[in-house]
Amino acid sequence: MTTPIVYASAGVAMLCIALFGFLTARHVLRRILALNIVGSGVFMMLVALAARPDPPDPIPHALVMTGIVVGVCVTALALALLRRMFADEGSARLPEDREFG
């Protein structure tokens, strides 16, 4: 098992766990976090891919960096919206999840 494979596998594992978390969590903050972890898993896979050829492929690196930037932006916006929702409605859950306590 080569190192890239290990990284890639770890990335897949993170992705799966986080995806599960995203689907089951009700608290929006948890879901945002879960999505961030999904993103991390994806990026790990990408980096692992880049390591495969002998001179490492530069393109995935560029992609990962772009991806991280995008991820940060989205997370920031999500958090801002969450704060607004909590301020307005007093709950950090989406309306359809609230009745389950």
């Binding site: 929006v28 999505l35 560029a62 995008v70 919206l81 409605e89």
Partner: protein
């Protein structure tokens, strides 16, 4: 100007406009926005003409070229989508100029939000720029980035309304993000297999192995979530139903189409070599389910705007019925025509709902007696766009459906035709149910006034939707010019 110049203009104009609008602040944002919108719209149309004249073009921005540089690519398909966006976008901008004018008369934008209303313009121009970029992108990763751009600005736009729109925006955000991640995983797998992100190179290198399938499936799933295909539509009605009117219009009419466009691009242009008949059938079935589910839900809505939003769910379904019959040449023009007329008609409908909301202070379908007398322009716009959505002649919706139905028969699959026909009936039921109240006497006196431009714009859009009946020919010619 050349095709390339128009492409640059299409990217630069809205993005630059967004920045200028942001800088110029509350007072001049609207002016900047409208001017930019018209410039962009003009460029979109010019691009369509350029493509029909000189065909497909690939253009490396700044001369960098792939793999690291940004390449732009335009063919008939992209040109059509850009043109749709341009025309409908311009109309939406005019409408927004009235809607977000300093003295708002509308009920769905609380007064304490007025001071943030001008932010619409930078966000909207950004969204537009993102859509143009998406259509003109030549590689998968740029498409990812443009999707995020669209998503972020769209979410911001929804949130402008405040109140319950915030949670809708959040829900949309979560879903869009998840969809993007699925998409990027797929991109990753493709890159792992073929070491390129470029659409054309991928097309040449692609072979049918399981990992390609998996990649394609992941990407498709992500895109389906964004285009709100049943059963991933649940986020759409609240988001579109609660956003400010021009935003609802833009999202429902235009943004939804980006997902559809990408699925078309992916399966018909990049991966045509895969044996994907089952997947195509699945997409068709989901589309059919969407048609019925959306129709039934729309029928049960009490509020006009929510009804219109659910109608989008149904209409998206039609688009996806393209895939089972895509082998027939007239299917794609049909679906695109349907998309175009849906864009125009749906934007018009949202504006109609907005006008009703502004005049009556509510949009409960049962209590809008006599809008035909009180607001004749809106009633006409509603009727005409309704005709197009139902698919009655003469309208773009009819021409599109006709082509799809013909394609279904040509493909020997009459059941798709039957579903399309039945779906049209269903939309007739809910649209005409609402429309009938327009004629009910005596008219209820409304107390407000519709924002300037909104009624007129809705009428223009409705006429466009109807006039698209005659666009089938130029459209397929444009598509062929792109292919050749």
């Amino acid at each position: 100007m050349t095709t390339a110049a128009w492409m640059e203009a299409l990217l630069a104009a809205p993005l630059a406009g967004a920045v200028i609008a942001l800088i110029s602040g509350r007072r001049a944002a609207a002016l900047v926005g409208v001017v930019t919108a018209f410039a962009t719209a003009a460029a979109s149309i010019a691009l369509a003409f350029a493509v029909s004249r000189s065909g497909v073009l690939r253009y490396a921005v700044g001369g960098w070229g792939r793999p690291l540089g940004i390449d732009l690519y335009v063919d008939g398909l992209a040109a059509v989508m850009v043109a749709i966006t341009g025309v409908v976008g311009a109309c939406i901008s005019v409408c927004a100029a009235g809607y977000f004018a300093p003295k708002p008369t509308h009920a769905d934008l609380p007064s304490d939000k007025h001071d943030r209303a001008w932010l619409y313009w930078p966000l909207w121009l950004m969204l537009w720029g993102g859509m143009n970029a998406l259509y003109l992108s030549a590689d998968l990763f740029n498409i990812y980035v443009t999707q995020e751009l669209i998503g972020l600005s769209g979410i911001g736009l929804i949130a402008l309304a405040g109140g319950s729109a915030i949670s809708a925006a959040l829900r949309y955000l979560l879903l869009a993000l998840a969809g993007s991640l699925l998409y990027i995983v797929g991109v990753e797998l493709l890159y792992a297999g073929y070491a390129t992100l470029d659409l054309q190179q991928l097309r040449d290198r692609i072979d049918a192995n399981p990992s390609t399938f998996a990649a394609a499936a992941l990407m498709t799933a992500g895109l389906l979530a964004k285009s709100a295909l049943f059963p991933l539509h649940f986020w759409l009605p609240p988001a579109h139903g609660h956003a400010p009117v021009p935003v609802s219009a833009a999202l429902s009419a235009l943004v939804i189409k980006t997902g559809f466009y990408l699925v078309v691009r992916l399966w018909l242009h990049v991966l045509p070599g895969l044996a994907w008949a089952h997947l195509a059938t699945l997409l068709g079935v989901l589309g059919a389910a969407a048609v019925f589910w959306g129709g039934v839900q729309a029928l049960m809505q009490e509020r006009l705007k929510m009804m219109v939003a659910y109608s989008t769910v149904a209409q998206v379904g039609y688009l996806f019925m393209l895939f089972p019959v895509a082998s027939v040449p007239e299917a794609l023009p049909g679906a695109l025509l349907l998309a175009a007329s849906h864009a125009a008609a749906k934007a018009a409908l949202f504006m109609c709902a907005g006008s009703v909301l502004a005049v009556y202070g509510h949009d409960r379908i049962r209590s809008i007696n006599g809008i035909g007398t009180r607001m004749p322009l809106t009633a006409v716009a509603f009727a005409l766009s309704g005709i197009s959505l139902i698919g009655l002649p003469p309208s773009g919706g009819f021409a599109g459906k006709w082509l799809l139905i013909s394609a279904a028969f040509a493909a020997g699959a009459w059941w798709w035709a039957a579903i399309i026909v039945l779906g049209g009936l269903l939309s007739a039921v809910y649209l005409l149910r609402a429309l009938a109240f327009a004629f009910l006497e005596p008219p209820i006196a409304g107390f407000g006034r519709a924002p300037w431009g909104m009624e007129a714009t809705s009428l223009v859009l409705a006429f466009i939707a109807v006039g698209l009946n005659f666009a089938a020919r130029p459209l397929s010619e444009l598509l062929n010019a792109g292919a050749g």
